[in-house]
């Protein structure tokens, strides 16, 4: 671990316990065209009770990171290296049976698409009580009662009736609530939320965010919130990881990052958020964008992977990989700060 982690620990997270330590996680896919490195040696930590935001454009490895943590990727073609320490256990070295004990129990996951993440042929109650029975050894009836209780907790009206319904009878927001109920049924210590609100409309998004915040307090869980919605990050997260092409390019506390983004990519992301009154404040009429697109994982640019799109690129950026720079307890992967 680099010396500079001490800087981070000066801040308020100092006394907090590390729940998850991901070090040098590398996920590759061996496919016909070659080897694709979707996650390229990332390090991060999640402390007990905090919400860590992970942002980035589509295809930068956010979801693969979450799936790699629980080893939910089919292997082959996926190959996962590095270490994922959950408290003191390395999840990457557990047997499948041991891992199954952790999935849904200590660590659970919420998926992006509430429309497709519930099985259409099983009732909501059956699906939630399945998770409960797996991990808590309860009988059928007890597990069912617990499932109804969970549905009530996620504020689904008339939960005992809803438990008998099939996913198609529920609205999108309700389904996402049911999904959250399923994920939280065994009181996990860590919740991996992969774009939990992306498929929902704005008012429902707000409700789901409130619900997750509330439940996080209630269960004292940590959340890894994966999203491309910076507004959601600002709302929920305490720390943020910014990912680009499978690497963490910047990490910092959410206030610092929004106040003073260090990496040009982070700045680009922040500038591309539309907000009312922007023209008055910045004098710019048009919304800023990051030029270009995320490069194909098969044809990574030399040097810094962001340099072809970077407005502040220098000669060195296209030649050498950027160094990891520590600055006031934040880290950034960029030549600008060397």
């Amino acid at each position: 671990m680099p010396q500079s982690w001490n800087d981070v620990e000066v801040s308020e997270v100092a006394e907090q316990e590390k729940l998850l330590t991901v070090s040098n996680l590398r996920t590759r896919f061996r496919i016909y065209e070659g080897i694709v490195t979707a996650v390229d040696g990332i390090d991060f930590e999640v402390y007990r009770g905090e919400t860590l935001g992970v942002v980035g454009e589509s295809g930068c490895g956010k979801s693969v990171t979450a799936l790699s943590i629980l080893r939910l990727l089919a292997s082959p073609p996926a190959e996962i290296e590095g270490a994922v320490l959950f408290k003191d256990t390395d999840l990457l070295r557990l047997s499948l049976d041991e891992l199954r004990e952790i999935r849904g129990n200590a660590i659970s996951m919420i998926f992006q698409e509430p429309m497709t993440s519930l099985n259409p042929v099983l009732t909501i109650g059956e699906q939630i009580s399945e998770a409960i029975r797996l991990h808590q050894g309860l009988g059928r009836q007890e597990a069912w009662d617990k499932a109804v209780e969970m549905l009530k907790l996620v504020q689904i009206p008339s939960p005992d009736m809803r438990a008998h319904e099939y996913p198609h009878q529920l609205s999108g927001g309700m389904r996402q609530r049911a999904m959250i109920a399923m994920a939280l049924a065994c009181h996990p210590q860590l919740l991996l939320a992969d774009e939990p609100t992306t498929a929902l409309d704005v008012t429902i998004q707000a409700q789901i965010v409130d619900l997750m915040e509330h439940l996080k307090e209630e269960f004292e869980a940590s959340i890894v919130l994966i999203t491309h919605n910076l507004g959601l990050i600002a709302e929920m997260a305490e720390r943020v990881l910014v990912m680009y092409t499978g690497k963490v390019v910047e990490e910092g506390r959410v206030e610092d990052l929004f106040e003073e983004p260090l990496h040009p990519y982070t700045r680009g992301l922040l500038e591309s958020i539309p907000w009312i009154g922007k023209k008055v404040k910045t004098g710019r009429r048009q919304l800023q964008e990051i030029p270009g697109i995320v490069p194909s994982l098969l044809e990574m640019p030399e040097g810094c992977r962001f340099h072809p799109r970077c407005t502040q690129a220098r000669d060195i950026c296209s030649k050498e990989e950027p160094p990891l720079v520590w600055k006031n307890g934040r880290r950034v992967l960029c030549w600008l700060w060397k």
Partner: protein, 289 residues
């Protein structure tokens, strides 16, 4: 908030599908045929008391009359009686055959589709080999290895159907395993066996149901074919195919001996096929060929 009763029946999928099935005339006709055969098979001892296989040589090869509505065969046995009792044999074969096909084919198809990789490759190459033979030839070959008789007929015809189920279930499992809900089930720690049988299997039940209905028709036809060739169910057990086979010798001066068992086979197969087509139309219009 509107109170909703989840068990409300008017819009239950089952009832909706039954209504649709009722509107499909061919399906109704097919199901009625199957129902008649079922009733006949169940009530066989009542409809035709006595032993259908007991010979009565005095009455050999009689034409249809009031006493023997469908006439008698070369041993003087009532053809109607033998068809009635034969329906038990044929339905038993149909049921046994699809059971063999389902019990072997469905698990193999699920495993093959869900795990993929080397397991899939192995199972699929065997399936390819079996599918390369026409189904009847395969059954014929198996009978020549196993020997004749009711049990071996069921096993042989059943095994000849296994590759069809493997292919069908594998294809469906391949598409279902990519669904997020399967990933979600794994994310809560569900065991593979539970994922296969609780999460994937119910999602592939529709094509399996349709194939089973159609498969019963084919099973009766194959078993009758084996009986006709004399290597299926053996006389004196009343089996339609065997009856057809023995009637062949008298085709010119006593055509009723072969005709009526033939009609019995025809109507049974027709019934299963029409019912199967109807089910497919109602349950999954995408499978319409």
């Amino acid at each position: 908030m509107i109170e909703r009763n989840p068990k409300r029946s008017e819009d239950s999928p089952l009832r909706r599908n039954l209504t649709k099935l009722r509107r499909n005339k061919a399906a109704v006709f097919g199901s009625t045929l199957i129902l008649i055969y079922l009733i006949v098979a169940l009530l066989a001892p009542v409809l035709f008391p006595g032993n259908p296989s007991a010979p009565n040589l005095v009455r050999s090869l009689e034409r249809p009359s009031l006493k023997n509505p469908l006439g008698t065969d070369e041993l003087g046995r009532s053809i109607l009686g033998r068809i009635i009792h034969g329906s038990r044999v044929s339905l038993l074969i149909a049921l046994g055959v699809v059971l063999v096909g389902l019990m072997i084919g469905v698990p193999l198809g699920l495993v093959s589709g869900y795990y993929g990789g080397k397991i899939d490759f192995g199972i699929q190459r065997v399936t390819d080999t079996l599918l390369a033979f026409p189904g009847f030839l395969l059954a014929l070959g198996l009978v020549s290895v196993l020997g004749v008789g009711l049990k071996n007929t069921i096993i042989s015809v059943g095994i000849s159907m296994v590759p069809i189920y493997i292919r069908l279930v594998r294809g469906c499992a391949l598409s279902v395993r990519e669904q997020t809900y399967v990933e979600a089930a794994r994310a809560v720690g569900t065991r593979d066996s539970a994922i296969l049988f609780r999460h994937i299997l119910p999602n592939v039940m529709v094509p399996i149901t349709i194939q089973t209905s159609l498969g019963m028709g084919t099973a009766i036809l194959f078993a009758a074919g084996l009986g006709f060739l004399g290597i299926g169910v053996q006389p004196p057990t009343p089996e339609w195919g065997a009856m057809l086979g023995s009637g062949r010798a008298y085709l010119f001066h006593a055509p009723h001996v072969a005709t009526f068992p033939g009609i019995a086979i025809f109507l049974a197969v027709l019934g299963f096929n029409l019912a199967g087509d109807g089910l497919r139309d109602v349950l999954d219009p995408r499978f319409r060929l």
